[in-house]
Each structure stands twice: as C-alpha cells, then as structure tokens.
Amino acid sequence: MEPFNAANSQSQMRKGILEFIVLLIISRGRVYASNILDRLKKNELIVVEGTLYPLLSRLKNEGWLAYSWKESNSGPPRKYYSLTAAGKKILTQLTLTWNHLNQSVGSLLNTKKGKYEKNLNH
C-alpha cells in the first residue's frame, strides 16, 4: 500500500481527473502532445510528462481519440489529436460528473461551521 498522507491524496485526486482534463483540452482545438503538456503544466495538473503518452495511447485505444499527422515548420511532423464521436460523448458524461462533484464539494465548503448541529437539534 502507498503511504497515507496529503501528498498521496493530492496525487490520487490529480490522477482521477487527468483523463477528463486531457479530453477537455483536446476538445478545445487542434493540439499535439506538447501543447497538451504546456496546458497541463501551466495549470499544475501533471507532475511528469511521461504519464501523458501512455494515457493518450489508452484513450486512443478506447476509441475516444484520433490523430492525424501534420507537417510542422520546425522539426518532424506532429500528431494532432481530436475527439471522436465516442470521445465527445464520454466528455459530456465526465463534465456532468465533474459539475456534480464540484457542486457537492462547494456546498460542503460553504456550509458554515455548526449548521449541522443546529439542524440536528431542531
């Protein structure tokens, strides 16, 4: 078992939403792997780049992603990713789940201390 601590908990949270985030980034426009990495790193959503590549290949195998090769001005051709119809469907579902989680956690965070105790007393 992994040790139970804050860092591990945080890492579990990040892992849990990474697939969703990657689908989301791809849904927002033509990107290749380095673009995705830039976005993820800017938002501190990924720790090491090496995790993205197996994830992309898994999402592709699920049939959620497709890619096409495009020439680039600097260097070798790049793989540009896009969502398939199935990928878009999944993204919609994941977005719903995310909104739901966000609302639930938000309402818990906004609950003032002592509120439940009052409710229990009445």
């Binding site: 890492s11 579990q12 990040r14 892992k15 849990g16 990474l18 697939e19 792997a33 380095s34 990495l37 990924i46 720790v47 090491v48 780049e49 090496g50 995790t51 590549y53 197996p54 994830l55 992309l56 290949s57 898994r58 592709k60 195998n61 600097s74 260097g75 070798p76 790049r78 793989k79």
Partner: protein
Amino acid sequence: MKKTLTINFNQTVFSLEEDAYQKLDQYLNSVNKYFADNPDKEEIISDIETRAAEKFSQKLSRSKTVINLKDINGFISSMGTVEAISGEESVSAVSGKTRLKHLFRDPDNRIIAGVASGIAAYFGADPTLIRLIFIILIFALGFSIWFYPLLWLIIPLAKTAAEKIEMKGKPVTLANIQAAINNKFPQSSPDKDEGKIVKILLFPFKLIGRSLPYLSPAFGNFLLPAEVGSFRIFCLRTLNCLAVVGYLPADRGG
C-alpha cells in the same frame, strides 16, 4: 575537451557529449523496459523521443551545438523517471494491469527450453525437483517422451521483464520491474553457455522441439504405434493438469 557522439534521433541529428549519451541511453532503456508489456510501446517510445528531440532543439543555438549532461538531466526530470511515471500513472491504468499468475517457460534457469524452471517459478519450487519429477514421470511411470516437447510447445517463453515477474505471480509493479532489470535478466538467448556434453546429449530433444511446430498438424502420424496409447493417457493427464494449473487465478492482492 570532451568526446561527442552523433545520434540520429527521430530523424534529426544531434551531437551529444559522451556522458550525456550514456545517461540518455540508460534512461530510454529503462523507459523501454517499463512499457515492455504495453501493446502501444513503439508508439509511446516514439512520442517520448519526439518530445526529447523537440526539447533538445530548443537547447541548441549558434553558440551551443552539443547536448550536454545538464540538458539530458533537465529532459529526464521533466519527462520523469520510470519511478515517477509509475507513481503518477492514472488509477485505471494501474488497475488495468494484470495480476494473474501466468505459466511461462523461464529462459534464465533453463537446461533445455525452460519448461521445468518455468513450472518451478510458477509454484515457487526448486527447478531441480521439477526436473526429477519429469524424469520419474517419463522413465519410471512410462509417460510418453513427447511429454516434454509438448509442454515446450504449449507454454510460452517469458520474454519481457514484466512476463518474468508474472511468471512468479508477483504483481507487475515498478519496484519488481526494477529488481528484475537490476538482476540483469538476460534476454532469452537461444544458445546459452552449455557444456559440450550437455549440448550433444540434448541435441535430439532440441531438434524435436524446434521441428515440433511444423509437425504438429500431423502430430499423430509421427507417433510410434507403441507411443499412441501412452500419448492418449498423457494428453488426458495434461488436460487435467492444465485445468488445475493454467487457469486458476493466483491469489490477488499483495
């Protein structure tokens, strides 16, 4: 003055200082082994190399034409060592990895083809004991001489580090793979050092084993009449064994 090496990396030529080259080579090897059981290994490695080439190009300028160790270390720390990658891989990727114990032939402790050593690894037994059982089965209990070659044919060889770990029923975790790599599991070389006498003694068996895949469609025709009876018994017994051995899931967890 430092020696440099020229590499063709993702269709771009880079000059690397010698220590930088060694570090990169070591890193790519570890990544290769880590993804060894991934069906998309080639693609993932090529993606990682593309990223490396991109990073290196950014490091180079008119006044700096060689990649040094610092550049490589920078690349590795952003890409992540295999330890870091496995720590961060998403939950579903980790849980998707097989925890089943598989029966493989063990190329590292083999004498002929690794059948006995593979079975020993599966049960955590001493290979010599399994070999003795084989000898007893064939010579004392009259099992067919085809017993061994047939198992040879049926049981796949453990090729990757991951397979060698599965062979022992351990979960394919990074620590286990690292241990396997550090032990320098030799990749299955067809002819390991064997004494001359052993080679001569085993030659007929090896010949049978090598040619068996071609013969198998007409397998029955190649059996001597006297062999056929015991072969049928043997087949039944093997099937029984397989039902017990091959398809029982190993204990999970751990």
